[in-house]
Subunit: 321 residues, 3 copies
């Protein structure tokens, strides 16, 4: 777990939010805050990573996620290369390591990695050269740390008192790296009341081990919640018969004007995107006054800039004690 | 229509050439003229859009067109992202708007949009945030304004007296956004003699409404013309039985050394590219002394730089009265 | 052949290593040497090609090779565009020339071209405008000159006395543009003892014409060799029945700890990548102490920077005598 920290406990890779201290998470969010004004300027570039090379190494296609990292890197003036590959079908993933070894020999400073396999980011970090950092952009159902950090950042801007928060995460938590990473991140920041709302077939196996409270009923789960976060429902869950139909799912777990009634009056609505309109969330909720979904997108650029800038800064010789 | 102009009548989006004044078109062409020397320098970049983000959002694949916009943006020192998507199959295109909303939340300054649906660019412009401009790179059979502007620019460099011009547009005008946009643009610049030459099945429905003269016979249509513009024949027209065969089409409407005899001695030959050699145009015509086809390509970079630079400049706070 | 040199005998295109003088190859390697420290700096960019446009025009997909050229161009501060196309199926390749003509009209300075057809790079160079240079990134089974130059560069760093070298190239030399280009390049540098080791079905047709010595037996072919270079075995060779099985190939020609015993004690092991683990080379050899495979990758960036910088410099007006 400490693979991602250097000897001074600073960020060297970003693999997971699990095990990150509240202080380190807060430092990331504070750094991200400093990048928010950059996005509002006509000239949105800062020269922090000029001459650095960042490679988006995606073994699972995702134009949208890749774009957020590409934009964050370009705003920092880095050179960015996109490298889309089929992930290796071999159990040990040696071919994927060959790709890593080859690309890092080209003096790449950082890899943004997305992979279907749980633990892929840590696997790469363990084998990476000392001049290389790994940034996990989603590995299997394991972790998606930058999403969790941008969610925490968005929440903090609206509700900075984490100790009093009631957060409900609604949907397919069983397969969700977003839910996993959010739970670890929010707990590190001091959130104690985290509810998981999901149908039985999509509930995580041991919610008590994560110290979160499971609910199968939406109204009960979101009662008085200040934050309600919907997860994207993958259509393949229907083919796997984990859910009966999209209509039934919406009726029971969809965030609608009516279904949100039990939540707190000041609730904010979140979603990692892209939304399935009329399935896990209605259009008027997604773009309504309580939604912060598009703020999440904007904040995602600042948070990714922060992580990239911190990791590179930590590796500067002048910063090594 | 005035969706693309701001309150001072300046360019805010570029959606269509329909309704643009001759003065505004001339301003664009003059601005493009100022960028022509840049292409001849060793260092072809100007810092006008440094720190701006331009996204090529293509719902219809076109490597070639995307490249011209990407290059224009890079020559202006903007950061460019390419985003290739399947267009939504839904009638109202909500999913496409979700993509717009998400990307513009990343502080994108301008979207270059290509889409299969007529009116898609205007649809995006109506829903775009106030900090975002839309540049239409072709929507259905509706409009392709930068192509028309670069065509007008190319004509002006050779034949600046628009009032005396005789322009013939030859080919599949029924499905051609290029023809549509050229007609509006040339009329704004004062061209009065515009002929449309097409087989009956590919003739536009109401040429008189556009104040152009229809011809089914090539020799008659191009008689004394100073400008002959061939359109690309999509091979699907043959499957739709709109044309009998490529050979027959070439025999009747192909631009060849012989078929061009009735045109004026000083005629220039144009084509939006890519050409179908030996169908709508012969190789020796396309690369012959009267052809300006490759000039069109070169000029396309300068014209796109001009449109991008003008739109961004018009949005500067210091330029708002 | 002299198509690639200007009137002063300087590099104008890079199409093949055939016919390059030892002095010119050495100048390229010396220039590459000057770029090696750049890769070790935090800021890896030099402004030599700022404002220049380089297009990767790949008619055959290769993410890995494209990346090396893209990175080299970006490290030189050039603007880079990637243009992936299907190669024309037509015998004379006119459509591919249309692509060249169109792109060069956009004031492109250099094309990096990969194509399935032998001689494609020279074909493009013959038809390119005077402001354009062609860099061959692999054409059919003909040539891959930057690979040969980076191989020579890597060898020189370890074993600068070319006259005393014994080099063995092992594998599918029949289809290998890498082998072809290496033989020409090494001979230009003064290597006299070049051995080709291949099964009969994969041996080049006339090795004596190239003044290299053919072997069918690995142990004999690599005896006392200071450099052993494995070639990648394309799996299609099995479908073509050129080899019996991967297992049999490995047993007879695979570089393993044991099979390398007859080589010199100071042998270095090379491979152009990507490797087929356990086929033409074992993992422990590829990443073992005698392997320079990852150095080849690193050196490839410096060598490609050198070629690009030299070609552009040679075209500067101030450098034309």
């Amino acid at each position: 777990m400490n693979l991602q920290l250097d000897e001074q406990g600073r960020l060297r890779h970003l693999l997971t939010t699990e095990g990150l201290s509240g202080a380190l998470v807060s430092e990331i969010l504070d750094t991200a805050e400093s990048f928010i004004p950059v996005g509002d300027q006509a000239v949105k570039n800062v020269p922090l990573l000029r001459g650095r090379t960042i490679v988006n190494l995606f073994f699972e296609p995702s134009t949208r996620t890749r774009t957020t990292f590409e934009l964050a890197a370009k705003r920092l003036s880095a050179d960015v290369l996109n490298f889309q590959m089929e992930g290796s079908s071999k159990a040990k993933g040696e071919d994927d390591l060959d790709t890593l070894y080859t690309l890092q020999a080209m003096q790449v400073d950082m890899f943004v990695i997305r992979h279907r396999a749980n633990g892929a980011a840590a696997h790469f970090a363990r084998h990476a050269a000392s001049h290389v950092s790994i940034l996990n952009a989603g590995d299997g159902t394991n972790a998606h740390p930058t999403q969790a950090l941008l969610d925490a950042f968005t929440i903090r801007r609206h509700k900075p008192d984490f100790a009093r928060l009631k957060v409900a995460i609604v949907g397919d938590v069983l397969h969700s790296r977003v839910a996993q990473s959010n739970i670890h991140c929010l707990k590190a920041l001091g959130v104690t009341d985290i509810r998981i709302v999901a149908p039985p077939a999509l509930m995580m196996e041991n919610p008590r081990a994560l110290d979160v409270t499971p609910f199968h009923d939406l109204a009960t789960g979101i009662r008085d919640a200040n934050v309600v976060m919907a997860l994207r429902l993958q259509h393949e869950r229907m083919h796997e018969r984990k859910i009966e139909s999209l209509e039934r799912y919406r009726a029971e777990y969809g965030l609608t004007h009516d279904s949100l009634a039990p939540a707190a009056a000041d609730v904010i609505i979140m979603h990692p995107g892209p939304i399935n309109r009329g399935v896990e969330i209605d259009e008027d909720v997604a773009y309504g006054p309580r939604s912060v979904i598009l703020e999440q997108v904007s904040n995602g650029i600042a948070v990714r800039m922060a992580v990239m800038a911190m990791i590179i800064r930590n590796r500067e010789p002048s910063n090594i004690a």
